[in-house]
Amino acid sequence: MQITVNGEAREVNAELTVEELLLQLGIKAERVAVEVNLEVVRRERRSERRLAPGDAVEIVSFVGGGAGW
């Protein structure tokens, strides 16, 4: 199925969970936040939250910054 991750289209297995997606992408899961279709998926729910075709996933983390970027 096709989803978008950080704005880019991606082909993934059907019913993939958020946790599995992070694992596939090789993202260290501790200090990232994940949003699916504008809703934050809490870390304790990542293993149960399954993705559906067309889902828009955002994965964010902290970067250096003060203001105005």
Partner: protein, 263 residues
């Protein structure tokens, strides 16, 4: 890091700090310099921005933050309340902290706050349990409205972000300080240590800066200068300055001169 026996501790939300300098983590040469600047500034709170992860897996800013230093995620780069709220929710999930430096910008050229959107976002985030530290203009009415909505502090700008112009309107800051019951933190515009000292002398509870340190020729030395500037200004505020006089007033005794004046 928090020591309840410290005199004149700085309290924000439920937490207390010794340092009254909060610094941003952007614009440094690399993570090593970021870390060294934080250490040398003595800051116990640092602000960080939130961005999409790079799938190539670069080093995290969190590696540059010394243990015991608190994270203050910011919504830098947001132009609407909606974007800022969304960013704050993600920041809470990523950083496991309720603190947020709320920033809703109105215009790319000035980076001035959009007060209307900031008020909207403050209301929503306070209701969701965030400790909201909003970046705002030096408008006393805006500051009062933010406080009324439950902001944990108000953070008026001294001058535009990254401008280094210093405290452009100390009179407005004084008016804000007169009535604020939450900490007033000068956020943006501080260019050198005397600016930081001046903000603290006015009675601000803390100063937040990024470019003032990162943009110096020697950022690490400036980090130390800012640490001392904030501390000096705070002490001067607490000490209470002498009154200004038009004429001289001798500070040595007039008695016992070897020749009497005029004789």
């Amino acid at each position: 890091m928090v020591d309840p026996s410290v005199p004149d501790a700085f309290t924000i939300g439920q937490k207390t700090y010794r340092s009254r300098l909060i610094i941003g983590t952007g614009k440094y040469k690399d993570l090593a310099q970021t870390r060294a600047a934080i250490e040398r500034s003595g800051a116990e709170i640092v602000t960080v921005a939130l961005r999409r992860v790079s799938l190539s897996g670069e080093d995290s800013i969190l590696q540059a933050i010394p243990a015991g230093v608190a994270l203050l995620p910011n919504t830098a780069g947001c132009y609407t309340a909606e974007e800022a709220v969304r960013t704050a929710r993600l920041a809470r999930e990523a950083g496991l902290t309720e603190f947020v430096k709320l920033e809703v910008i109105g215009d790319q050229r000035t980076l001035f706050p959009d007060v209307e959107e900031t008020l909207k976002a403050t209301k929503i985030l306070v209701a969701e349990g965030f400790t909201v530290l909003p970046y705002t203009t030096d408008d006393p009415i805006a500051a009062r409205k933010l406080e009324d909505l439950g902001a944990a502090a108000v953070m008026p700008l001294a001058a535009p972000i990254g401008s280094g112009l210093g405290i452009r309107n100390p009179y407005n800051l004084r008016i804000i300080l007169e009535s604020a019951k939450v900490p007033v933190i000068v956020d943006a515009g501080v260019g050198t240590a005397s600016d930081a000292a001046f903000a603290m002398e006015l009675g601000c509870q803390a100063v937040l800066m990024n470019t003032g340190i990162a943009g110096a020729r020697d950022p690490l030395m400036m980090a130390e200068a800012m640490r001392d500037g904030v501390r000096a200004g705070r002490l001067a505020f607490l000490a209470g300055r002498m009154p200004k006089r038009l004429y001289a007033s001798a500070s040595s005794p007039l008695e016992g001169m070897i020749a009497s004046p005029g004789g």
